[in-house]
Symmetry: C2
């Protein structure tokens, strides 16, 4: 694709808030929260309707460069090259893509107002614990869940039969040292605010790392094996049969 033709296409598509995709050979300079340089190679450039710019290499799941929505996109012709300047003045960042060749490009207006419905997150997990408190302890009585109490964001907050307060921290994946740090901070906060030492912590997760379990125990806290529930599991179970053949 001739570079001048490519430039015209990109400029008109960006002006019309179309989505643009291009296969190019380029080198890239970034400056903003960090600074980076990427030498010449083949990449995929995506410009979205909201002026988000994303650059992908031919392999790997994360973009090598990107600029957030609302960037200003300018093209500058330099000899046979095309410099794509992407600026975000508010964030004091820029991305300069020097395009040596444009192999192919496409643009189109796309419409999509849908939002994804997702199940199995940490909120589903704390809901499930509130409704199934016995998984934390036979006498565990939940008081609040994911609410902004006077002690802050605590996933599930309750008390046991003896009147001791219980702070539950949920993790949807293996709990690590950082989860124990967080639980400890919450328990200390509750002790401080309630002016009582009768507070303990429970880490609820599908599993826990050995170091985290050791640290948890050293603070007198407890691990509870809980899986994040998947609301949509009805169809999931059917689909999963595919894996089994």
């Amino acid at each position: 694709m001739e570079i001048g033709e490519f430039a015209v296409m990109v400029e008109s598509a960006v002006a019309a808030h179309e989505v643009v995709i291009a296969f190019v050979h380029c080198q890239i300079t970034y400056s903003g929260r960090a600074e980076a340089f990427l030498g010449r190679g083949d990449r995929i450039i995506m410009i979205k309707a909201d002026a988000t710019v994303i650059v992908h290499q031919p392999e790997g799941s994360v973009p090598i460069n990107y600029m957030r929505p609302g960037s200003a996109i300018d093209l500058e012709r330099i000899d046979e090259h095309l410099m794509m300047h992407v600026r975000n003045d508010k964030e004091h960042s820029f991305l300069d893509i020097e395009i040596f060749r444009a192999y192919d490009a496409a643009s189109r207006r796309l419409d999509d107002g849908q939002k994804q419905d997702l199940a199995g997150n940490e909120r589903d997990m704390s809901d499930w614990i509130r409704d199934n408190p016995a998984c934390i302890g036979a006498d565990f009585k939940p008081i609040s869940r994911e609410e902004q109490t006077d002690v802050g964001f605590i996933d599930v907050f309750g008390h046991d039969g003896t009147g001791r307060l219980v702070v539950v921290e949920c993790k949807r994946i293996t709990a690590s040292l950082m989860a124990v740090d967080q639980l400890r901070r919450y328990v200390e906060r509750v002790k401080m605010i309630k002016g009582s030492q009768a507070v303990t912590g429970v880490l609820a997760a599908p599993s826990i790392t050995p170091n985290a379990l050791e640290m948890l125990s050293s603070w007198g806290f407890r691990f509870c094996r809980v899986e994040a529930p998947k609301r949509l599991e009805r169809w999931s179970r059917d689909q999963k049969k595919i894996f089994e053949y």
Copy 2:
């Protein structure tokens, strides 16, 4: 673009490890670490040379769905639709993209062996502190930096003039409560292993939140204002003039 033609193009491109980009109207079902459904709308599908699959909506900087490298991609014709099944058996996940229309698509073999050279990360920051220890304290003497010592991952580890050990934790952006948690854990670990109470902590960051500063002080630790250095700032400063006009 006729859906049968699209199917043939995708299958041959995937087999040839080409990169594929398509503008489609589709709905998407995901099951894996969580479960999700996304109703009908226009999206961009990217299939990379390593069988990574990424789906973007027309706005926003993050993909709405993705499958990691090494996925199995199968197409199934259902009446006038096309079902793209993406499976990753190892991760027990799948992505089903029901494509109602393929507006446009392109594929191409892309070559890129380049790696990005990046400056201004946390490692650069700990390097800089090691080489400029006075920023931590007039008598601070660094011993190690980002090394796996017998006390674990500590950004910069040293001692002050009085023989007291100093643990430095670096954050390239504003330090929060979690950074203080981390520093406290490291200091406790060093106290335990060295069997000494003469250990203190320093949090080095460009700024710190009020709560984090309060917690830091309550543990007897100290905040040090340090910016992540940008090795490439030579050209950066020149380019930044653009912002000023």
